[in-house]
Symmetry: C2
Subunit: 277 residues, 2 copies
Amino acid sequence: MPLFKKVAIVGVGLIGGSLGLAIKKKKLARSVLGVARHKETIHKARKLGAIDHGGTSLSFIQDADLIILATPISHILKELPQVVKFAKKNALLMDVASTKNEILKTAKKYAKNKVHFIGCHPLAGSEKRGIDNANVNLFKGALCILTPLVQRKAEIFKIQRLWHSLGARTCILSSERHDRILAYTSHLPHALAFCLMHILPINYFVFSATGLKDTTRIAASDFLVWKDIFLSNKKEVISAVKNYQRRLNYFLRLLSRNKQRKLENFLATAKLKRDSL
Amino acid sequence: MPLFKKVAIVGVGLIGGSLGLAIKKKKLARSVLGVARHKETIHKARKLGAIDHGGTSLSFIQDADLIILATPISHILKELPQVVKFAKKNALLMDVASTKNEILKTAKKYAKNKVHFIGCHPLAGSEKRGIDNANVNLFKGALCILTPLVQRKAEIFKIQRLWHSLGARTCILSSERHDRILAYTSHLPHALAFCLMHILPINYFVFSATGLKDTTRIAASDFLVWKDIFLSNKKEVISAVKNYQRRLNYFLRLLSRNKQRKLENFLATAKLKRDSL
């Protein structure tokens, strides 16, 4: 028997589409339906086999026992009241967004006793976007962080089983801890890459090697998604950037004062840490 | 007839070893000899076919018509007087280091009318080091920047032919322009990656995805090589980092003041530039 009767995916882009493909491949649901803003996306998702059917209205989700929110953060925040309204009683509701605090607070406000909300953040993705880049193996080997609002073990266990079936590992964190950690491991590196691209003169591009390309790959990410992430995790991102600035100032001091020995130690420590990443 | 009679490579590491392998494969010299600090390196380089013979004394270079300096910058600066002393009259002398100003100034002081010095910087490499990682195809498709001290066309043309034979493209820049450009396209990204690794708490590593790994790959580079690069190009690196700090401050301002529209434009501009890299 499949894990779910009907799974509804709101937002059939890279993550939502990949989830649809994987859920269908692993036969984890009797049917998978999609909701998207544009009919064309639904059409493509059906053709690719990421959903069985779907449409542009949120009312489509009403029979689902699992609803997956896979739209950008600002959309999730706006859609949540409507989603809860259309959801059936005791449905499982999860998101896959990159920040968790703000979404959990909003979910808490609206979900009440009607749906069971479990925040999810699969650490998988790509700088590419859209259903065209959906990939059935996207979550294989990835870590998915769960930030449950509901504390009932049965529901958490079911969502864990879903991710494990897709090849992902799971761990549980509070949304506060999630947002602090991800500010360092993901949001800060993205902010640094966006700023680096910003100051690079275009006529210097021809003099770049693989180092620059690797370092800035994530600056090719969807800027609307990242605007949402930065704003949604503003406090932690600002704190991480300020911490980073202090380190950059220290590097500048070592360099301008010719502190060869300390500079060597500084770089050696960084290299040693990177080797263990 | 090969391009050179005898090529001497001082420093048979990743770059020097790869040059030896490629020069021998393309039969660009009758013989290739190597100079290294440790006998074991010479032994390995011979076994891999990167050199024909060699030793630990600089006096080995005396018959070479091309001498390649492939040691870290601080070593090149120290070795240059000795190298010129042992070099035969009218030998071609080139380096492959990542900064050019300081080396050219030192070369100018010592080379005088005895040898023809041409600075070279192949934009190829790896965070890995040493003869064990030498690769015959390292320079294929890469751009090699030439910063000639000598202005005689015959010598420049000969060095260009060498690089072209190894599959690289070449261009000519002044050492000042080279060091300014590379401060942005290479030294700044490395400084940012080293600083990022520095502030990342080790217990957060498990919550990282490919984005962080790509962004910080270059922080695994040889810290002694990079200490030399930063110190040798101090003025330009400091200027690039300060310029970067202003942009990072601007990003912080947009974020803390909730300037959604401007933040969106900021990220969109960075993405657009990255897409064209």
